[in-house]
Amino acid sequence: MFRTLAIALTLGTTLSLAHAETTPDAFVMTLSTEVIEAVKADKAIQAGDVGRIRTLVDTKVLPSVNLQRMVVKSVGQPWRSATPEQQKRLTEEFKTYLINTYAGALTQVRDQTVKLRPVRAGSSANEVVIGTDVVSKGEPIQLDYRLEKAGDSWKIYDFNVLGLWATDSFRSQFARDLSGGGVDALIARLSEKNKQISGSKN
């Protein structure tokens, strides 16, 4: 369960395509495949160079994520009462946290491939849920994405590993710090966590 959670977290983002209008499922497939291939092909990453993975995530993956929407969704109600300065700092720390999270999970990628699940009819033309299965030997791992339309392409604003939506998980974990010391407490906590991860890996 933990292993699959980690692997799927790595694939919870995608690369941007600058082409004619893409369907959301094509978008997800291309991205997932490109990310896995990039990780498999890079010897340094396979050897455990986490700094390199973070760069990969920052340059190739983040552009396809609606970071703002993810932060707001992960923080919930307290976002409204935060000052613009706090919101800015929170978004920055969240971004680093997301990159570190994703990079850590990418270290798990070995020989997986991605298969699309049948696309469910969306409730709106601009938002859709795309489901994939990450397959290696044994049980496939469910990895779903919530996409919103962004021009000719799509952006991810949430992802789901084995049924758990990332923003739900974040909201649950952030709640303690938020109720304890407000937005500043959460910013401090994320900042501390980010330093801790960077420190232990480099």
């Binding site: 369960m1 969704k73 109600q77 030997k137 049980e139 758990l164 974990q173």
Partner: protein, 245 residues
């Protein structure tokens, strides 16, 4: 051994019921959060003191190919129990597939050491008695963290008695072999999960919550075989649109 285990379960159930009520702001799925967090802390201590070091040593000393064979061996025994549960869940086709998986791997795979069926593309479905109960409508009940065994629910804890009957230890007669086999199963599983748990340690702001939420969602998925009924979504903060129904 079984009656002692049942007694242990009963004691824990009593402790759980007598444990903390839902704290304000607590998750309704986890009314025993106070109690669960204590057990979780205990498990973490045991893990850090014993399981992780032994599993790390096992991983360093034992060659990958041997470790894979060990994992395959235990997974194969698990497939037989999954097949039984699929029958109990009235899912004959998957039951047959898992049965075939077990037969192939036991024979062609030299007693389960090689996952021949997996190489041939047969997917594995893990089924246990808790999922069987869930399939027939038994609700999961509150989240429960068991000493050493980790995350569970009230229903799945009750189902453990049945799962233990089919545990790898049950396939051996001698007491000494049973203990040895169980120890090997625990260590090999822990070793397999080492890098994943390291990732969890890095990611989690609150490890207890991450594991709980992940486990409950995963469990629900397993009971419904990947297609759980949608739960109502809380309105998204900051968005103008109400969540899709």
């Amino acid at each position: 051994m079984m009656s002692r285990f049942r007694l242990l379960l009963a004691v824990w159930a009593l402790l759980a019921l007598g444990g903390c009520a839902t704290a304000p702001g607590g998750n309704p799925k986890d009314p025993f959060e106070g109690f669960n967090r204590s057990v979780f802390s205990f498990n973490e201590t045991v893990d850090n003191a014993v399981l992780k070091p032994v599993a790390t040593g096992y991983q360093k000393v034992v060659p990958q190919i041997v470790r894979t064979s060990v994992d395959n061996f235990f997974a194969n025994l698990g497939d037989a129990w999954s097949a039984v549960n699929l029958v109990l869940q009235a899912k004959p086709v998957p039951a047959l597939e898992m049965g075939m998986r077990f037969v192939f791997n036991s024979t062609l795979g030299l007693g389960g050491l090689f996952d021949i069926a997996g190489d041939a593309g047969m997917e594995r479905r893990n089924e246990d008695f808790g999922q069987t109960l869930g399939r027939w409508g038994v609700g999961s009940g509150p989240y429960l963290v068991l000493p050493i065994l980790g995350p569970s629910t009230v229903r799945d804890t009750a189902a453990l008695a049945a799962d233990f009957q089919a545990a790898p230890a049950a396939w051996f007669q001698e007491r000494r072999d049973q203990v040895g086999v169980t120890a090997l199963q625990v260590i090999s599983t822990r070793a397999r999960l080492l890098s994943a748990t390291r990732t969890i340690d890095d990611i989690a702001l609150d490890k207890y919550l991450l594991i709980r939420d992940g486990f409950l969602v995963r469990r629900r998925n397993q009971v419904y075989d990947g297609n759980p009924p949608d739960e109502p979504e809380p309105p998204e903060e900051g968005s103008e649109n109400p969540p899709p129904k």
